[in-house]
Symmetry: C2
Subunit: 402 residues, 2 copies
Amino acid sequence: MKINENFLKIQNSYLFSMIAQKVSEFKEKNPEADVIRLGIGDVTRPLAPEVIKAMHSAVDEMAQESTFKGYPPAYGYDFLLNAINQNDFAPRGVKLDIDEIFVSDGAKSDAGNIGDIFSVDNKVAICDPIYPVYIDANVMAGRSGTLNDKNEWSNFVYLPCTAENNFLPELPKEHADLIYLCFPNNPTGMAISKEELKKWVDWANEHKSLILYDAAYEAYITEDLPHTIYEIEGAKTCAIEFRSFSKTAGFTGTRCAYTIVPKELVFDGVSLNKLWARRQGTKFNGVSYVTQKAAEAIYTPEGKKQVREVINYYLNNAKVIKSGLSGAGFRVWGGVNSPYIWLKTPEGMSSWDFFDALLSKANIVGTPGSGFGPAGEGFFRLTAFGSAERTAEAVERIKNLF
Amino acid sequence: MKINENFLKIQNSYLFSMIAQKVSEFKEKNPEADVIRLGIGDVTRPLAPEVIKAMHSAVDEMAQESTFKGYPPAYGYDFLLNAINQNDFAPRGVKLDIDEIFVSDGAKSDAGNIGDIFSVDNKVAICDPIYPVYIDANVMAGRSGTLNDKNEWSNFVYLPCTAENNFLPELPKEHADLIYLCFPNNPTGMAISKEELKKWVDWANEHKSLILYDAAYEAYITEDLPHTIYEIEGAKTCAIEFRSFSKTAGFTGTRCAYTIVPKELVFDGVSLNKLWARRQGTKFNGVSYVTQKAAEAIYTPEGKKQVREVINYYLNNAKVIKSGLSGAGFRVWGGVNSPYIWLKTPEGMSSWDFFDALLSKANIVGTPGSGFGPAGEGFFRLTAFGSAERTAEAVERIKNLF
């Protein structure tokens, strides 16, 4: 029996596991330290009351023979697909059929599993810095080539996002088949305008490339910017979109997301919608009824209001971090259309040196920018998902330290 | 952008989708028909009261900041891993570490996704008939070769399970790297003894092959037979086991399962446990807190009793079907350690002809044996997951028809 040797190329441990380990070692040596965690992008506010109500009611249905639900439909219950369509797309002028929407247990699963339907021979383009899952999933699948001493994979096309280009990548200078884009961006917190996104859609259509568009943070957009790539003309023939309830409605521990695969997406005469349907129908069995009822509840009038309040709460945290650090002389990006704040480390410190300093001297956990790719070196990510009080306290500590 | 062309080899539609379509066409033409569904293996009894109680309580925890849960641990909460270990393995003399247990959203997902960690070059052996997911997932991954006119894939090693060998496959006569075994079996309903299973474990160890053992139906075992492959000496160096709460506790609509990857499983010096951990850590994000609390509840004293009652209810249905059809002159297998009854079609009818006759003349839905593979031709599967009343009614109708 032969293993998939591509797995040997990637590091054994995931960025956030490394951080968790460093924090736990620190806490062991300093049990009295009051550590504030602004590292991993995990939410902290409870589920909305409407969601809780819907879950209780769905659990009660599972308790009665007459209302009990067995296997869910593989791609989602119609009630949720319709709610998604009518609330996330129709109001933005985007027309979808509900069989272009695939409900799943998470955007991470979808962004990883989508590779199943593509040839191993495709050339992958990624932004740098980037959410590590896109890279690791493609390394495992055999699309990466080898790692060079600059920490770059030989077969990937890198699209650097730097302070110079305001963290908006330039169009690829060489051919790329699969292009990963994420806006509002994780980790930089920067968003994209319709005009800029149109350039990518046009480039992809012209080069017969496919954009894998991660819009998991669209609910944090406060300015006049596209919430879905399908607001851009031509996107339906060149883009798959990943969406998630994790950051929209605090579902990180509830697990629900969805992916859009338009029927107009046809490559070599084959519909990607049908391929994804076959992949999910074979290697996935749908999302639990209780979870789908929970997701549906965020689209009720009351649910929308409650979910919006929580997003505004986190956005206010982002503002506090951004203005606090700005005032202290840091160069800071993001945080306006995103729960992420991206900052330049002071005095040319490396990302990990800054991580260590922040942890040991201010007892604050953030994420080293270099963990997101070579171009992230010298940068650092903070998240706005903590409590307001702890976030304000964290900002004070950083200001006092530097 | 190039698609994964292996997808073009498989049929567009899944067996159970074909059945659903035939039934829906029949109902459209015969709206007055009182159809009894004994086709798809989906449960019908509500969740156990202990499970319902645990879910309500977990939902309440998600409503409070102090007890709210964000991202679950990627491989399962310790409370569930410990409950699994202490109840499903320790009492059978099987010692596992909890990091050899990986909780997931379903055995179908795991059985499909496990292929990620193996080379495409492995030779796959499958029983015939077989649960279609094992085949389709390997076709998609490129391990199948081409389909011949006997409906067999050129690169697969087929292990026929027939009335002649009492539906227990013989050891492979040629080399196989990955061997899929499922006991109690879907679709035949037949179980395996320790002595027989030992032969497979020995063969796999000798040939450095890996057994992928599906034990999703172990809770239905009533005789003195192995519930887990790890009851067999030597299995930890040659077997991965898939387990599910779907049939054990009626979780088809709740979505929870687990997979055992022992640390002793080492191929080419590489630990499969680490590879699967990396795969799941990268392309999966854990199971919801509410669902894991639901699963934990089946291991409480009260929960065990309640879950056992439901299994006995289904087993009684199986008995009713088996003895009824036996008495009517059918040749019938399974149903003793399994919720599945496997029968020989009468008068040499093909599986699909029998399906059509049963649907049109008795308004009963079953599953054609040929849908599970070439050796299933001339056989038919009925499931015991209906209500007792409807099951008895179905048996009467079949007896009257033949």
